[in-house]
Symmetry: C2
Subunit: 296 residues, 2 copies
């Protein structure tokens, strides 16, 4: 298949104007929790949207469930702890461990938006919870998620987004997500090549697929940087190619977020475009069965 988003092909960095739309199927509503036309326009223009407190009713149960999964599965491949302690850092493939979280991934408050923006049925390409610990949580450099999902997982087109919920408050002080509004329209073809089993390193700190300082400067020149803040239960949707990063967390408060990556079923993964073999299934789900609303 033709590579519309070449990256890490051992060539100089370049900007590629995105050949795919940001909103597919003209953003027709697919359910009562779909976005309003104004919200769709905002997402189309900026590449993200924040829905304050949308899932505040679920925060307490979800936080307990995340702790339970970590406690009961300390040795699972999907569970990552801090190098120097048993403190939980990330858990991947959450539906495998939790009917409650599997159910949440099909909640209309997520699914009515994902199907609306991606123009039809979707499945879960990846899910994870990230805990950026108080006082010492490390920064994450600028990157496009889609760049990795294309190069390392073989998603052909940019028809994918992340819907996520804040389980603790996200403030300017605890290592929040910074996004560059509008950057979803520009694909940065990165330098270098992908090492074998890059994910073992990149889950700790991404080195490949991270653009140069001058690329970030050029992207941010137009509309600057925006911090994504909110109370627990706030839901955010961000487009697969939006450029984002996060500073370290020096505050006394952890930052915990739960992410669902939705991909169009019409965008099923093929052979990776820049890696010898695919990443493990807990990072890149091969099962593209459409998700049904949990009240269907």
């Amino acid at each position: 298949m033709q590579d519309l988003y070449p990256s890490r092909q051992d060539k100089p960095e370049e900007f590629i104007s995105r050949p795919d739309p940001v909103v597919f199927g003209e953003g027709q509503p697919t359910g009562e929790h779909s976005l309003t036309p104004d919200q769709v326009d905002f997402y189309d223009k900026n590449g993200f949207i924040v829905l304050e407190g949308l899932l505040s009713d679920r925060v307490e149960a979800l936080a307990q469930e995340v702790s339970r999964i970590g406690r009961e599965n300390p040795d699972a491949l999907e569970v990552f702890t801090e190098p120097d302690s048993q403190q939980l850092r990330s858990i991947f493939d959450l539906p495998k461990f939790s009917p409650m979280i599997a159910d949440l991934s099909r909640d209309p408050r997520f699914l009515d938006v994902a199907t609306q923006l991606l123009g039809g049925d979707v499945y879960l390409h990846q899910s994870r919870v990230n805990i950026k610990p108080a006082h010492s949580g490390r920064s994450f450099p600028w990157h496009s998620d889609f760049e990795t999902w294309h190069v390392e997982d073989g998603l052909p087109r940019c028809r994918t987004l992340t819907g996520w919920v804040m389980l603790t408050e996200n403030t300017a002080y605890n290592g929040p997500l910074f996004v560059i509004p509008g950057s979803q329209r520009t694909y940065v073809s990165c330098e270098g090549l992908t090492p074998d089993e890059n994910y073992r390193q990149s889950l700790r700190r991404q080195e490949y697929g991270s653009p140069s300082l001058s690329a970030i400067e050029a992207l941010a020149k137009e509309s600057g940087i925006v911090g994504v803040y909110g109370k627990p239960g706030t839901v955010v949707f961000h487009e697969g190619n939006i450029m984002h990063g996060s500073p370290d967390n020096i505050s006394p408060w952890p930052r915990t977020n739960l992410f669902f990556v939705y991909n169009s079923v019409e965008n099923a993964p093929v052979k990776p475009y820049g890696a010898a073999k695919k990443r493990p299934t807990f990072l890149a789900n091969p099962d593209t069965t459409p998700l049904k609303r949990n009240d269907a």
Copy 2:
């Protein structure tokens, strides 16, 4: 002399309620640029105050002057560059290199406030410019400046403040100063002992005199954390004991600030309270001659 602010005495961390006032001499105005009574009250309560754009007329000349000093004195003891490049990081004892900056330290916009809040004549204990570079500027852990000035430089009482000017915009995104309002009232007596020539390490990353996570949590519980943001030319005064830190700078914009540390002439340094010998004079000025307004 009795040690009213013991720290790094190889004892457990403890909170000491500050025996000194925050505002000395009841904050009587000392010149036409002194703060208003409301501003003095704000500073007394919060430990800092932000004066938006107060020196915006001086930013361009100062930025050029800082570049000139770095360029003309690459090997000076007071000039620090990045470990892996010749990029300027810090310059100390600026008046030594620059009549323009010596003059600025006596500008009534600084001096009328410093003499007002410290209740009389002041001198410059330290001056510096810090450049937190774009993309990779490192975080600085929570600390009280006064704790170091007391333990390592021998300032007996907490009768000192920093007045500083932003030479680039300080935003939530480029590693700004975070302060804990009200924390200036509590002195954190830190664990450990001070190694010899600690400053060689602590200018890069402070390890001694940095409180525990639980201490920061307790201090921030009441009034949280506030980020100090402003356009170039914004002037900030912060009290010597306010707890502060800063995250890393992942943005494409450097953060450059120029600091003057004013100490009361009645608070001249004595033998350090927790170090074998004093730090070099470029970090701790022994000349306590009162500063006169540059228009006097």
